[in-house]
Amino acid sequence: MRKGLFPKLAVQNIVLNRRFYFPYLLTIIGTAAGFYDIAAIAYDEGMGQLRGAEYVAMFASIGVTIVAAFAAIFLFYTNSFLMKRRSKELGLYNILGMGKGHIALILLWESLYTALIGIVGGLSAGVLLYKLVTLSLHRLLRLEVPFGFEISPRAMAATVLLFGGILLLTLLYNLRRITVVNPIALLHGESAGEREPRTRWLLAILGVLTLGGGYGLALVTQTSEEAMLVYFLAVILVIIGTYCLFTSVSIAVLKLLRRNKKFYYQTRHFIGVSGMLYRMKQNAVGLANICILSTMVLVMLSGSLSLYLGMEDVTDRQAPADLILSVSYQPEEQAGPDTEALFRRLQEEVASQGQAVTEMEGNFYFPLTGDGRDGVYSLRSSGSMRYSSLTLFTLLTAQDYAALTGRPVPELGENEALLYGIPDTALTFTDGERPVFSLEVRETLTDFPTISGGGIGRVGRPAMVVVKDYDTLLRLWGEVFSAVGSASLPVYELRADLTGTADEKYDVWTYLSQEADFTGTGSWSSLRVSSHEDIYSDNFGIAGGFLFLGVYLGLLFLMAAVLIIYYKQISEGYEDRQRFQIMEKVGLEQREIRRSINSQVLTVFFLPLIVAAVHVAFDFRLMLQLLQIFSVTDVAPTALCSLGTLLVFAAIYAAVFALTARVYYHIVSR
């Protein structure tokens, strides 16, 4: 045959099949760009040196793996769809006298063009988007925005290799398909015998069991550790359950509907139910895919967003001032830290760095970790302590409380206390068996000044306990020490706000924690300086990294879901066209056609969304427990995040549905 014919035919095929090819190319471009950008971040060595960006490389390399796996699966999926649609065309070539070798040549050329457009397009889009991606990443991490325009050759090479490899594999798969299948089968490939789906009870039972199991796990977990342990298992169970549900339960339900004659023999239900039943088998997997992708998008976005939004609060709780000096000391030595001298020294040291202290306050406290509920707390730290049953008590004196709040010193007895944070009316601390000491709660406080206490980087419910005086504080410490054999030392905490920018404050902190000299400030055993800036950038390094990954993968999965929806709409359009033409001849009104298409397509398309929302609802408890690990304990903002994400997602879903539905009508009514 004439030279140059095959490349020409290949181009012609791509143009002629643009309805299928165009989204496929977009998929390649989109995933390749996504892969390039995340790889470029993962390979950027400068990133790890930025304060707060230490975790980014880790998050990005997780992202690289996920995006690569996703790209492979997804491109195979879209390719197989494309090939199924085109089997008739290829069968025709064969029948018109082209050998399989010739068809292979055409496919080879098509693949070459596809790869060229997809990879080059993807890389260009990736390079262009990289600036946007890094900008948003820096904003999420609350970092200064960098300047310049970068290209990562390593990420480019990785992209070319990965996508070249995937496309080569799809080509091999396609070639295998045409060599194995005979031309007549290819010719009829599209309308390959449809059989009414059987109700597969075994699968239905398996679906109910796995889904029930997944939901059950989400409902019975009590603690963050359990949540962490079962999360993966629950996800796998729900995924299996979703596939089984869509492939079997849906068919069983539809068959039941069909058996109900009163319901079934009405125009809309009649066409809808039979159509869905007919479509369920071929599309159950597609719908399950959409459902799972949607669930993933929702869970990732709402989870990481909740974490991110909760972080501000967590940071303020952990570091209520620019600088926090925690001076722990041995209570046996009567002297203790000299608070006046500490104040003075801190001011001098800060001044030596060219900044000044604007506000300063301090208090004594004594941290206790209790394991238990409802007024009885064990002080014995066993290895099996569960995060969410832990309460982090901070005991402080009535004088300090009065000084911090500006209120009069509360009158308290030896064994009386004011309590904030938990609703108990009496507190009994035990060594695991016998009580060590008990406190009667005189009053439950509704607000409390923010002090850092012992809570930094620890997980548990915070609770503030105000006791009579300093002697009581030390006495209680002594009782804990003699009963349990160990106890965290009492602490004098000094909080100071500084002048200067965030970076200047950070520099002051670096100086204080590494070089400053605090000798001559009384007797103490250790002095730790924490900085709001440091904790802030650490917290947002993690939360921002999570959010970045969540949004990034969320967008990618969203793109996949949109594409699957699009492909479903057009393939169904071609299938339904003939059906509706026949019905029109038999006397179905145009209006009825539209109405029944609407109700059928609507049900089919919003089913995954509804199931995804149910999944997310069950996931909510698990997510709250996981968030506790990061000290995010507020339920309301997390609930708002989940709801908000769901609403936004539903809006996008509806828009995509409406847009692709137009394509569908166009095909059906032509």
Binding site: K585, L588, E589
Partner: protein
Amino acid sequence: MTLLEVNNLKKIYTTRFGGQQVQALADVTFSVEEGEFIAIMGESGSGKTTLLNILAALDKPTGGQVRLQGRSLSEIREREMAAFRRDNLGFVFQEFNLLDTFSVQDNILLPLVLSGKTPREMEGRLKPLAARLGLTDLLPKFPYEISGGQKQRTAVARALITNPSILLADEPTGALDSKSSDELLSLFADVNRTGQTILMVTHSVTAASRAGRVLFIKDGQVFHQLYRGEDGDQRFYQRINDTLTLLSAGGERRA
């Protein structure tokens, strides 16, 4: 009583971008009495299908008039058209046009469902009809499970279940083997004996020879017509064949 009147029917197709005009029907006039079984014959491109589409109200004529039971089709508004078609016309197509999403039973019931009949009434109409057409055992099956002849009988049942005033058939034997064709034609003859009016467009002389009257269409006009009279199928077949030979030889109009 005259059931269907076709007067001076004209149909001119204009190609998509204007310009070219194709005349499908030039001037067609004929009428159908109640209880008749009429076959319309003609070569490809003679305008048979266009005529049928206009009779079925699927297409609009450029000129002329079609009256069914005295009512002009052009008077029927778009909104009522589907219901009119459903209640008065029954269709049988060459390609059966069964819906593969429905069982045989549901395919037959489709027009009744569309007109909003109750399940009881549907059942009442379906049972005797299915028995008459030998479909009783096939009712729960799906189109892909049955033969071509069975599919066409299903299509006939679907057309008859609304008790239409006229049954329109477009090459009903076109996709059938000869045995199934014979069965279908016998079925048509049976149905016709019970008073059902049938109008069938066909290529096949065998099919036409089972009708009571044959109209020949050529170049968009009714060129000739033959009544069976007292002839048997064999004799009528011969006469139809002779007429066709004459037609293709370019004979003159004798109608």
